[in-house]
């Protein structure tokens, strides 16, 4: 009797398991790590953003206070961090993206060997982000007369005195943007290059019959529409790497906060509150704002490049 009762649900489970079990088996490793290191941290950030948490005592609920403070009382955030982040994101994101597309398009006009060499050179800076480059930039932008840029400009008599490039609020942001753009020809750039090379040549032929007379029209009417999926992939990669590059100001200037908050980006603000002031709840609220910004920009890219089908 007892046995019969168990058999029915077990039979259902068995049936499901035979059909779909191995699929979930293959997925399990990735799913587990995905949940632990991506889903849970995002949820924790979300939950903590509604609390006061100093890492010593158990978090206490304080509603929307963190968000209200962020939007109304956090002077540093409104005066420096948000404008800096937007300026940095707009120039590095879309700027780097357009640059990557144009370079990929130009490369596609060359035969294979020179194309590969140029692609390698353009891609290689993106491999060196972070620590290895700090050595180079430190020597290049060094504040004394031994710095390469100072020595060069003094040689040209553009400047009389060495400039403290990385410590000067008026130069830091520009340098951050240039350095990040320099290293932005990454995966998205390679994807777009591959996308352009994949386009069926007959499309161009048909286009010229339809009255397309110059290369610019060709890009707008044939190249981009035929590689929308790669354009979207490239856009998402550009957005993510732009926000991920947020530590650059601290790397270059060597301090958080950056000199007079000139290079302070939202990522540094999170670290400042989280690891320097131990206001984890507040830092979590800033993290949520950052994630929402990324999502918003990606939605926008989706609008631009969504495939019709």
């Amino acid at each position: 009797m007892q046995n019969n009762q168990v058999v029915a649900p077990k039979g259902l489970f068995r049936k499901w398991f035979d059909k779909e079990g191995s699929a979930y088996g293959f997925l399990s490793l990735y799913a587990l790590l995905f949940i632990v290191f991506i889903v849970v941290p995002v949820l924790v950030a979300f939950v903590l953003s509604f609390t006061f948490f100093d890492t010593i005592q158990f978090p206490t609920y304080n509603g929307l206070k963190n968000y209200v403070v962020l939007l109304t009382q956090d002077d540093i955030f409104m005066r420096y961090v948000l404008p800096n982040t937007i300026q940095f994101a707009v120039l590095v994101g879309p700027g780097g993206y357009v640059l990557a597309f144009l370079l990929a398009w130009i490369l596609a006009q060359l035969p294979k060997l020179p194309r590969t060499i140029f692609a390698l050179i353009l891609y290689s800076p993106s491999m060196t982000t972070g620590v290895a480059m700090a050595v180079v930039w430190a020597a290049f932008f060094s504040g004394d007369q031994n710095g390469y840029l100072n020595s060069f400009l003094m040689g040209l008599r553009v400047i009389q005195e060495p400039v403290q490039w990385l410590q000067s609020p008026q130069y830091l942001m520009t340098i951050m943007i240039i350095v990040t753009l320099w290293g932005s020809m990454g995966v998205g750039f390679l994807a777009m290059l591959a996308g352009i090379l994949e386009i069926n040549p007959e499309l161009y032929e048909a286009g010229s019959l339809d009255g397309i007379s110059n290369r610019f029209q060709e890009i707008i009417h044939i190249t981009i529409p035929s590689m929308k999926p790669q354009m979207l992939f490239g856009a998402v990669m550009a957005i993510v790497s732009t926000f991920q590059a947020g530590a650059i100001g601290v790397t270059l200037s060597g301090s958080n906060p950056t000199p007079q908050y000139a290079g302070q980006l939202i990522v540094n603000h999170i670290e400042d509150y989280g690891f320097l002031r131990y206001e984890m709840g507040y830092a979590a609220a800033v993290s949520v704002v950052l994630l929402l910004m990324v999502l918003l920009f990606s939605r926008l890219a989706n609008r631009l490049f969504a495939s019709e089908d």
């Binding site: 979930y24 390698l120 620590v131 050595v135 930039w137 320099w182 995966v187 591959a194 010229s208 979590a284």
Partner: protein, 301 residues
């Protein structure tokens, strides 16, 4: 009519995507690319040149870009030097190599198994799970540093070898690229094997893996770059010096370079930076054609 025909022929010639050889119309592209790539490549050349400079050239005034009397002294200094805490530099390098190799192997297994299921298996949540992963492409790890920190503390992963490896294994971009690549394998190939009675594991190992080598190479590169260049894990999650990585060691050289250690540190830092950079370059050169063939499947619909 005639005009159209002429246009047609010039059209074909002008739309020279992926041309076979040199054509004068390409000159303008070289003229744009050459100065730009020279600027792009200068810092890379500088890494090489700087690492081989003897002390008097490192601090020469005015500073010189290229090395004139190359020497290996910086490298021998680097490896005979102990870090401030008494750990030999070779230990950091060993940690980095081991961590990177294990992470690459684990990452390949984790992503390819999941990608095989998402591409070729039939189950109810398939579309939904792939959509979740596509949203996760937009995930910015740096945004959740703090929750990750709290979580890793709770999981007792602090100060362990595993904390270098586990957090980076679920890589949405990697899964996405491999899944797209497996989509290119015709279903008939898989079905034929199933009719012959092959198990899923056999199909995955004997059919799918050998057919997706380019995609595997790509995820290996992406994992390599993320792991090898990573100094943050050592800073945030590791206390014992003997478990830290070479990237972390280099970051300590550059941050103290601003302070007292500027003279002694620069040559060593330059040599370490070259050691950091060189494997990136070599691996990409070796695998670049595989990466390009994976990227042509990268479209996001």
């Amino acid at each position: 009519m005639r005009k159209k025909l002429i246009k047609r022929f010039t059209g074909i010639r002008n739309s020279g995507i992926n041309p076979k050889g040199f054509h004068p119309s390409q000159i303008k592209f070289y003229l744009i690319l050459l100065p730009l790539t020279v600027v792009m490549v200068l810092p890379i050349i500088f890494i090489f040149s700087h690492a081989f400079k003897p002390p008097d050239e490192l601090f020469a005034y005015p500073p010189r870009f290229f090395v004139t009397n190359p020497t290996f002294k910086n490298f021998s200094d680097l490896f005979t030097k102990m870090s401030n805490s008494g750990v030999p530099v070779s230990r950091y390098l060993f940690n980095s190599i081991l961590i990177t190799l294990v992470t690459i192997a684990a990452s390949i297994i984790v992503s390819t198994t999941a990608a095989y299921a998402l591409s070729k298996k039939r189950f109810k949540l398939k579309k939904m799970l792939f959509a979740v992963n596509t949203v996760a492409l937009m995930f910015v790890p740096i945004a959740v540093t703090i929750p990750r920190f709290l979580l890793i503390e709770r999981l007792n992963l602090m100060d362990t070898f595993l904390v270098h490896i586990l957090p980076g294994l679920a890589m949405p971009v990697g899964l996405f690229l491999i899944k797209q690549f497996i989509d290119g394998i015709p279903d008939e190939v898989i079905e034929a094997a199933q009719i012959d009675g092959a198990s899923d594991v056999w199909i995955y190992w004997e059919i799918v893996l050998p057919m997706i080598r380019p995609a595997i190479a790509t995820i290996a590169i992406l994992t390599f770059q993320a792991t090898w260049n990573n100094a943050d894990t050592s800073t945030l999650f590791i206390n014992s010096e003997s478990l830290k990585t070479f990237a972390f060691y280099l970051s300590t050289l550059t941050s103290t370079a601003a302070g007292a250690n500027v003279v002694a540190g620069q040559g060593i830092a330059a040599a370490a930076a070259l050691i950091m950079f060189l494997p990136n370059l070599i691996i990409f050169i070796l695998l670049q054609s595989q990466v390009m063939s994976t990227m042509s499947h990268s479209g996001l619909k």
